[in-house]
């Protein structure tokens, strides 16, 4: 089975322009205009019109605008590219079924086995012409075709074709065709390819044919697995046929509701079997999920439908029961009509009925790694169930697991992770953290500093000079309303941090341990220019 690849060059630009034209409603004017797609103020993709003005990939935005002032600037948006490629896929599908999208702007179809040849045209060229005609009718003007025995060669061939034309690599001629190409074509394969192309060029190997002349053993030694792949391709040994590809196992599961369901509870009840099917599907392949993306689609009522999507991580692995809980929490957070209250609303509030719930495996791991020990193990099931009951009462993120992390202030040195989630992005504990207070840790750490005041014997507020010296010995202090004399005190531990974040974010501060005459000890913090707060208490 031969493969035909359809390539739309500079697809991100085309997609961006199509969207722009769609928004503005003047399609003939803008689609041919010079345009670039920018990411981080650098040109990522530019179209032919822009290229002819001297705009190149990798240029800064300013340079591109200097060369071509009327250039249309588009932001990089992979979702937009994929969205606008969808009509192209369906247009091709109308003519030739079995479409495999490779990436936005490129798709593969099995080339027609028998097709009538016209005068001067081979069967495949004629087939490509029919597809091209169909696509131009659908509004995609720049489409190029290549057909060959295998996918990789067909892709290369498509890149050599002119607009709406087809490059046909004869049967068995893949290796010969690839050997004639310059090594720079590898740069299209991504950073790995660009690196290899650069290396080969510096080694004096201009054509892929020169590369093919090297011995397989030396290529394997010197250029790694990617180099070996290329070498095998130019020898015609790597035959990745489209039709011979086994599709990846479909692990995602979904359930749609007709009519749409209004309450989170009803949805939760209905997704149970789907969750079980999802877990069973993974289990059939000896897998368990430790991260699952739950997507819920909402009905379009007036102001447009919506999708609530969230990736949930599990400290161990998901069971169907856990999944059902996650669906409940996610909908609870989003739905206004929910009977149960929640403390945190994530994302926009969606008050439309749910039409579909989908589970997508995000991280899967071998089931053997997560199996229970023979005598039980892991989290105590009873505790897990009990905590689930608490979560049902106060919301899922009201139950926390305390976790230590590194930091200078008492509040920085800890974090509370919602029960059932994995802590991510923790600061390491085992670093020195200069400026932290040594000794026994305070048993009460306030999330927000409490109002406090410290004065010296003359009744003047105590402050710290720029050199970290106390202006007067603390004599009396208050946390809250009640003043009391200072029994003993220690400090200051000066810290100068986060000043780079701008005004109000940080700056000079100093910490004190202050013990009142009643024996209670506090961790007080002075912040420049002169405010005191109680950060923690040694209660």
């Amino acid at each position: 089975m031969r493969t035909m690849v359809l390539w739309c060059p500079d697809w991100s630009v085309t997609a961006g322009l199509l969207e722009l034209a769609d928004e503005q409603g003047d399609s003939p004017v803008t689609v041919a205009a010079p345009a670039v797609v920018l990411a981080n103020n650098k040109v990522v993709v530019c179209n032919t019109a822009a290229r002819s003005e001297g705009v190149r990939r990798g240029q800064r935005r300013r340079d591109a605008q200097a060369r071509c002032p009327e250039v249309v600037l588009l932001s990089a948006n992979p979702a937009r590219d994929a969205r606008w490629f969808e009509p192209v896929l369906s247009a091709v599908e109308e003519v030739r079924p079995g479409v495999a999208p490779l990436r936005p702007g490129m798709l593969a179809v099995p080339a027609p086995g028998r097709y009538f040849a016209r005068a001067g045209l081979s069967g495949e060229e004629a087939a490509a012409a029919v597809l091209a005609e169909h696509l131009v009718g659908a509004g995609v003007w720049d489409c190029r075709f290549g057909s060959a025995d295998d996918l990789y060669t067909a892709e290369r061939a498509a890149r050599l074709a002119t607009a709406q034309a087809c490059t046909v690599v004869p049967v068995g001629g893949s290796a010969l065709f690839l050997r004639g190409l310059p090594v720079t074509v590898l740069a299209d394969d991504g950073p790995e390819g660009a690196e290899l192309a650069d290396l080969l060029r510096r080694l004096g190997l201009v054509l892929l044919g020169d590369f093919a002349a090297l011995s397989g053993a030396s290529v394997s030694n010197r250029f790694g697995s990617y180099g070996m792949d290329v070498w095998r391709r130019v020898h015609g040994e790597e035959v990745s046929r489209l039709a011979s590809r086994t599709p990846p196992p479909e692990l995602a599961c979904e359930i749609s509701f007709e009519p749409p369901l209004e309450s989170a509870e009803a949805v939760t009840f209905s997704v149970r079997t789907t969750a079980e099917r999802f877990i069973a599907g993974l289990a059939d392949r000896q897998l368990v999920a430790t991260g699952v993306r739950v997507e819920a689609e909402f009905e379009d009522i007036g102001h447009g439908g919506g999708v609530s999507a969230r990736t949930w991580l599990h400290p161990r692995c998901f069971t169907s029961r856990d999944l059902v809980d996650r669906v409940h929490w996610q909908l609870q957070a989003g739905m206004a009509t929910s009977g149960l209250r929640s403390r945190k609303t994530t994302g926009e509030r969606i008050d439309a009925p749910v039409t579909l719930v989908r589970f997508l495996p995000d991280t899967v791991e071998p089931a053997g790694d997560h199996a229970d020990g023979l005598w039980g193990g892991g989290a105590d099931d009873q505790v897990v169930r009990g905590v689930a009951r608490v979560q049902a009462v106060v919301g899922y993120d009201a139950v926390r697991v305390p976790v230590r992390q590194g930091g200078r202030s008492a509040a920085d040195r800890q974090t509370l992770v919602p029960w059932g989630e994995r802590p991510v992005g923790l600061r390491p504990v085992d670093r020195p953290w200069p400026g932290q207070i040594p000794g026994p840790a305070p048993s009460r750490v306030f999330a927000e500093g409490r109002e406090a005041e410290v004065v010296d014997e003359a009744g003047v507020a105590v402050a710290i000079t720029a050199r970290g010296v106390v202006t007067g010995a603390p004599w009396r202090f208050r946390v809250g309303q009640r003043w009391q004399p200072v029994g003993s005190w220690a400090g200051p531990w000066p810290v100068d941090e986060s000043w780079w974040l701008g005004a109000g974010a940080g700056g000079r501060s100093a910490r004190f341990q202050v013990v009142g005459v009643d024996g209670r000890a506090w961790l007080l913090r002075w912040t420049s220019p002169g405010s005191w707060a109680a950060e923690a208490a040694y209660d």
């Binding site: 009990g386 905590v387 000794g439 048993s443 750490v445 040694y538």
Partner: protein
């Protein structure tokens, strides 16, 4: 000898006698840190009142060190590092920082499954709510440590005097605290001891 003037104490004493006659559930020992030995030995089904956060952590630490699950409810200012220094296993700790109005349900659900629950009630606790929790505790063989007031508790630990060492006038740092504690039970003489917290 309990004070005969307090009718509640008399009632408690009578209840205790009735329970002993009925052969109530055996009250198992819950691991307690050795430093609290002269003051208190936790037993399942009991409610213990304390007056400081450190003491609450300290009472939970014994059970946590021996592999039990512990929970803290109503602690919106939980000092994680202090808990770690007490030897509490944080991976077997459940924290409900702000149960709010649902504190009773939350506590009841937690004492169902955890060995020691340390509760900081949001306000005064009425006898009815307390009796609900008491019944749960007896059925589930857990321990409740309350930081604050509780209508009928087995033992109340109070700090009488706190002395910090290692800190002076602008010198040193907090190193150690010696607390003179007194444990008052519903029967028997108060026990006193000095512990290092």
């Amino acid at each position: 000898m309990p004070e005969p003037a307090d009718p509640r104490a008399v009632l408690d004493q009578l209840r205790g006698r009735i329970q002993a006659l009925q052969g109530g559930p055996t009250r198992m020992l819950v691991p307690t840190l050795p430093m609290f030995e002269p003051l208190v030995q936790l037993r399942t089904g009991g409610v213990y009142a304390v007056d400081s956060s450190s003491l609450g952590m300290g009472l939970a630490a014994g059970a946590s060190r021996s592999g039990e699950w512990v929970g803290f409810a109503g602690w919106d200012d939980f000092g994680v590092e202090a808990a770690h220094q007490w030897g509490i296993d944080l991976s077997r700790t459940v924290l409900v920082p702000a149960p709010g109005e649902h504190w009773l349900e939350v506590t009841a659900a937690l004492v169902d499954v955890l060995k020691v629950v340390v509760l900081r009630p949001p306000g005064p606790v009425d006898a009815k709510s307390a009796s609900i929790i008491d019944a749960r505790l007896r059925a589930r063989s857990g321990v409740l440590v309350v930081q604050g007031e509780w209508p009928r508790c087995e033992l109340r630990l109070t700090a009488e005097q706190t002395t910090w060492s290692g800190i002076g006038d602008g010198r040193g740092r907090l190193r150690e605290r010696q607390v003179a504690m007194v444990a008052r039970g519903s029967g028997g003489a108060p026990r006193r001891a000095v512990v290092v917290l």
